[in-house]
């Protein structure tokens, strides 16, 4: 099992044991079961700007161990003999493949389930053509790009299909019921962001004027939920429900910096600068019921200090909270859907979240 041996070797590296003594995955016979979604999940780390220290980790549910986060010893580096690059932004696990957007390196990596390259990465080359967030309908993979387009790839062959023009600096993206919902963050410092609702069958695009819709975009109960980050001054961040049929938005009346969807619920946490305490202040972790409109606290604010990412395992509702501090490797805690601690492990810099098989 390539991933298993790789996992072991990476754990060895992380434990400080020489790589040579345990890494010979090239000699292993291929075969064995591909990692099932029930075995573990991937964790992607953004890395430091200009630091080429984006990384990919694998977290094993059974052992509670994760592979190394180091730029030169993470799964990607070990599998491909090269660094993942600068500022990994988002990933998708679909059709036995991993699609990873690396914003600073301006590329999209297509990997097998063990993290090995299936093809040369797509390089976007042009000035400011950084790939950002990903979404899939199971058939295609949609990647927003700062050049104002959504790049479409086949989920089964990873071949490039086409581009769809959206708005300025698109970020978060979701796909549901044959409709793409794209957050266009707008022109630099202009706070003129929009949400594009694109019908994939007719190609019709409808735009909704907002302020600063950013990376967060999740599908829940047939609707898309997004965060508009506001202008960091007098317009606060707001969670919106986007109706894909009407192409309208509805403010849910609470602020958030990170959201995650599970069944009919939206988990959310807010992390805001406060001049009163002269530091970031983090809210408790809440869950919002999209059917009843109820808000319930899941984890206290103390458990959310330095929160950086929020993900939920779609198969069992486990909550993955990533924490970060400047210049220090991050941490990820795993909680059950009712908030009991289930595990903790070290992650790389500015983790973007945990990723589960679609």
């Amino acid at each position: 099992m390539p991933l298993k041996s790789l996992f072991l070797s990476a754990v060895c590296v992380f434990a400080g044991i020489a790589l040579v003594s345990c890494s010979n995955d090239d000699d292993n016979a291929p075969g064995g079961a591909a990692p099932a979604a029930s075995d573990g999940c991937y964790v992607l780390n953004n890395g430091n700007w200009g630091g080429n220290d984006a990384s990919l980790q694998y977290y094993d549910y059974t052992t509670g161990l994760a592979t190394a986060p180091d730029a030169d010893a993470n799964i990607f580096a070990l599998q491909n003999g090269a660094m993942l690059g600068d500022l990994a932004q988002d990933m998708l696990w679909v059709e036995d493949k991993l699609f990873v957007s690396v914003s600073g390196s301006q590329k999209l990596e297509v990997l097998d389930e063990d993290g090995k390259r299936l093809r040369e990465p797509y390089l976007y080359g042009g000035e400011g053509a950084s790939p950002r967030m990903l979404a899939t309908d199971g058939k295609y993979v949609y990647v927003t790009n700062y050049d104002g387009n959504v790049y479409v790839y086949s989920a089964s062959t990873a071949e490039f299909v086409k581009t769809i023009a959206v708005g300025a600096r698109p970020e978060g993206i979701s796909c549901t019921n044959g409709v793409l919902v794209v957050n266009n963050s707008g022109d630099l410092y202009a706070y003129n962001g929009t949400v594009s609702v694109v019908d994939l069958n007719s190609g019709e695009k409808r735009d909704i004027q907002l302020v600063n819709p950013y990376t967060a975009s999740v599908v829940c109960n047939g609707d898309v939920y997004i965060i508009d980050s506001g202008n960091y001054y007098d317009v606060p961040s707001t969670v919106y429900r986007v109706s894909v049929e009407e192409a309208t938005v509805e403010a849910l009346g609470f602020a958030a910096s990170a959201i995650a969807a599970y069944e009919e619920k939206i988990y959310y946490v807010n992390n805001e600068w406060s001049y009163e305490v002269n530091n970031y202040v983090t809210s408790p972790l809440y869950v919002y019921d999209t059917v009843t409109g109820e808000n319930v606290e899941v984890l206290p604010a103390e458990a959310m200090t330095n929160v950086n990412s929020l993900s939920v395992n779609p198969s069992n509702g486990d909550i993955y909270v990533g924490y970060t501090q400047y210049g220090v490797l991050g941490t990820m805690n795993v909680y059950s859907l009712t908030g009991e601690a289930k595990g903790t492990f070290t992650v790389g810099y500015y983790t973007t979240g945990a990723y589960f098989e679609n």
Partner: protein, 657 residues
């Protein structure tokens, strides 16, 4: 115009109160008619006489090191870390004993070179071509007769331009690796009646596209720097007028313009680099000194500075334009009632503004700041013991065009220097203490989302104790100089950016504890009349660790600060030619707060070698010089993913008339 009005009101409102002081000094000349000797010219203090660590490089020494800018020269000093992003256009900043570049002040012919936006000065912009000397002082020196701003930093770099006597001309042309060309001209004239003037122009053009190799797990990233070109022109005019020994006026006009690429870090799989920086800087300064009598003297200076930067980032579809103005006025009076006793009163005020273009406005507002510094200092020697005390009061008030503004700040900063010269020896024992702070910069306070107007100042305190020796052993060892200083200190409320989910914010989070030692050794050796050898070595031990109360990296060495570093240089002068060798050496560093193997950045050695020869061509002297830098062709980085050039060469021809 607003600026003109402000400048006027400044002059009227703030110089006027000082004016009464000036007649006071003039009058005091009548009172104290001591005809003691008047010191003409500035005899600079030798390192072994200074109560604080002082290092000085003469023009000749700078030339022998094979450096072309002040940042390069600073690498040969002990007690500093120079951040160098590589290449002819790469930023070079100097941090003193782990305190951060914002704690280092740079003075150009006695007047501060400031940057209210970033708080750090790019020393790569100061060519050594017209430098007469470069002096580096840690803490508060014994020379108390200086402007208040020189009391206001933890370390000072003093750049002094050449202003020789008589009529002269010096022309240099240079060609170097990576399509680098440079030409400079310095011409000066002395007139009767104590009038001297000089003109200087320095032009640089470099493609800077050097090759590099960077490890990439099981392979290498092999490439050439792109977008690393620079074209820069610096011009300067100096005028000096002295009337006997009583009045001296010095005036300077300075202009700098450059266009450069900002190559950025080497990024995996993305060779694209398109950020450009256009810079312009103009300043005029006038400096007046009046010696009223043997016991009283005063000096005053006025400076107006304008700088403009246009930063174009096509990748982010952004263009940022920043204009900075600074008006600086200072007045210093020294009273020396007795040979061993002197007092200084120094007042300085400066007014800064930073404005940005409307398009992609990077600042949340247009900030303005008025800083008023008042220093009193005294120096007294009793026998072989000398003591210098000073107290600086700083006041800063800010205004913004909109939004929140930082509250006014007021703070007293003391310093104390003690030195003992044991009888009949070249030895000196010294101890000093300095408490100082730096204000948050305009970027720290008002840069759009990340700026934090509630930032506190960053405080630093340092205690230094050392020993210095200067003497000549006679015979072949014509002179020997040595110094060893140990220090401990602390930086509190260090300003760093802390990450949030959407935006980062500037915040006072860290405390840094500093302990270290600096050692310098130099010797002149004579081999008969045939040859002279000058050797110099510097070593720094610097333990600068995070000491934050709740820090998760408490005890970790701060970023880009090697525990051990040093330099070595040798210059051999013979009748045939001059030979120079220099070595820069640094131990490993960490690129991030957490000291773990994956954040370690390896140490490096950089060896350079030079040969030069003079020819007399009638009344002129022609000097040819060949230099080879990084002769072992080591790939190294001072800042991670900013590779330094490999082996490279330089050929220079200088004509002195």
């Amino acid at each position: 115009m607003r600026l003109a009005r402000i400048t006027l009101s400044l002059v009227a409102g703030y110089i006027a109160p000082l004016l009464p002081l000036c007649p006071l000094c003039a009058q005091s000349g009548d009172v104290y008619t001591l005809d003691s000797l008047v010191v003409t010219g500035s005899r600079h203090l030798q390192a072994a006489e200074s109560g604080v660590p002082l290092q000085r490089l003469s023009a000749q020494e700078i030339e022998r090191l094979g450096v072309t800018d002040a940042g390069g020269a600073m690498k040969y000093m002990s007690g500093v870390t120079v951040k160098d992003y590589g290449g002819a256009g790469g930023l070079k900043t100097v941090s003193v004993r782990g305190m951060g570049a914002q704690h280092t002040a740079v003075f150009y012919d006695g007047v501060a070179v400031g940057d209210c936006q970033s708080g750090q000065v790019d020393l790569g912009r100061f060519s050594t071509e017209n430098l007469g000397a470069l002096q580096f002082v840690i803490g508060q020196g014994d020379d108390i007769y200086m402007s208040a701003r020189m009391f206001a930093s933890a370390g000072s770099i003093l750049l002094e331009t050449r202003l020789p006597e008589g009529d002269y001309m010096r022309a240099t042309v240079r060609a170097a690796s990576f399509d680098t060309y440079k030409a400079s001209l310095l011409a000066g004239r002395s007139y009767s009646k104590g009038l001297k003037c000089s003109l200087f122009a320095d032009y640089t053009n470099s493609a800077g596209d050097y090759g590099y190799t960077i490890d990439n797990v099981r392979g290498d990233i092999v490439g050439r720097r792109v977008n690393a070109d620079i074209e820069a022109l610096r011009t300067e005019a100096n005028l000096q007028w002295s009337s006997g020994n009583a009045h001296t006026v010095r005036a300077k006009l300075y202009g700098y313009g450059s266009r450069r690429g900002v190559p950025g870090a080497v990024i995996v799989d993305n060779p694209l680099s398109s950020e450009r920086l256009l810079s312009r800087n103009f300043f005029g300064q006038i400096h007046y000194e009046y010696v009223a009598s043997g016991s009283v003297r005063m000096k005053a200076a006025l400076k107006q500075n304008y700088s403009f930067d246009r930063n174009r980032q096509p990748a982010a579809s952004a263009t940022h334009e920043f204009s900075q103005y600074e008006t600086d006025a200072s007045c210093t009076v020294k009273w020396q009632p007795a040979d061993k006793l002197s007092f200084v009163l120094s007042e300085e005020l400066f007014y800064n503004t930073l404005s940005t273009s409307n398009r992609h406005n990077a600042m949340s507002s247009v900030p303005e700041r008025l800083t008023v510094l008042s220093a009193v200092a005294a120096r007294y020697c009793l026998g072989r013991v000398c003591a210098t005390v000073s107290l600086l009061h700083s006041y800063a008030e800010e205004w913004t065009s909109k939004g929140e503004v930082a509250p006014p700040r007021s703070r007293f900063s003391p310093s104390l220097v003690l030195s003992v010269q044991p009888a009949g020896s070249g030895w000196l024992l010294r101890a000093s203490y300095k408490d100082i702070f730096r204000l948050p910069t305009f970027n720290d306070l008002y840069y759009r989302e990340s700026g934090n107007y509630k930032l506190r100042s960053e405080k630093s305190r340092m205690l230094n104790a050392g020993v210095a020796y200067a003497g000549s052993a006679g015979g072949w060892l014509t002179s020997l100089r040595f110094s060893l200083d140990g220090y401990c200190g602390r930086v509190e409320d260090k300003i760093v950016a802390v990450p949030g989910i959407f935006v980062w914010k500037m915040s006072n989070v860290d405390d840094v504890s500093l302990t270290g030692a600096d050692a310098n050794l130099s010797a002149d050796i004579e081999f008969g009349k045939a040859a002279q050898l000058t050797l110099a070595a510097a070593y720094s031990y610097m333990r600068a660790v995070d000491d934050g109360k709740d820090s998760s990296t408490k005890g970790h060495q701060i970023i880009y600060t090697p525990l051990h570093s040093g330099s070595l240089s040798a210059a051999l002068h013979t009748a045939v030619a001059d030979f120079g060798y220099s070595l820069l050496w640094s131990g490993e560093r960490y690129r991030l707060a957490q000291n773990i193997p994956s954040t370690r950045v390896g140490g490096y050695y950089d060896h350079s070698f030079s040969v030069s020869r003079n020819w007399n061509v009638s009344s002129a002297v022609l000097t040819a010089r060949i230099e080879a830098m990084n002769i072992l062709d080591r790939n190294y980085e001072i800042i991670r993913y900013y590779p330094m050039p490999g082996r490279n060469y330089r050929l220079s021809l200088t004509l002195n008339l």
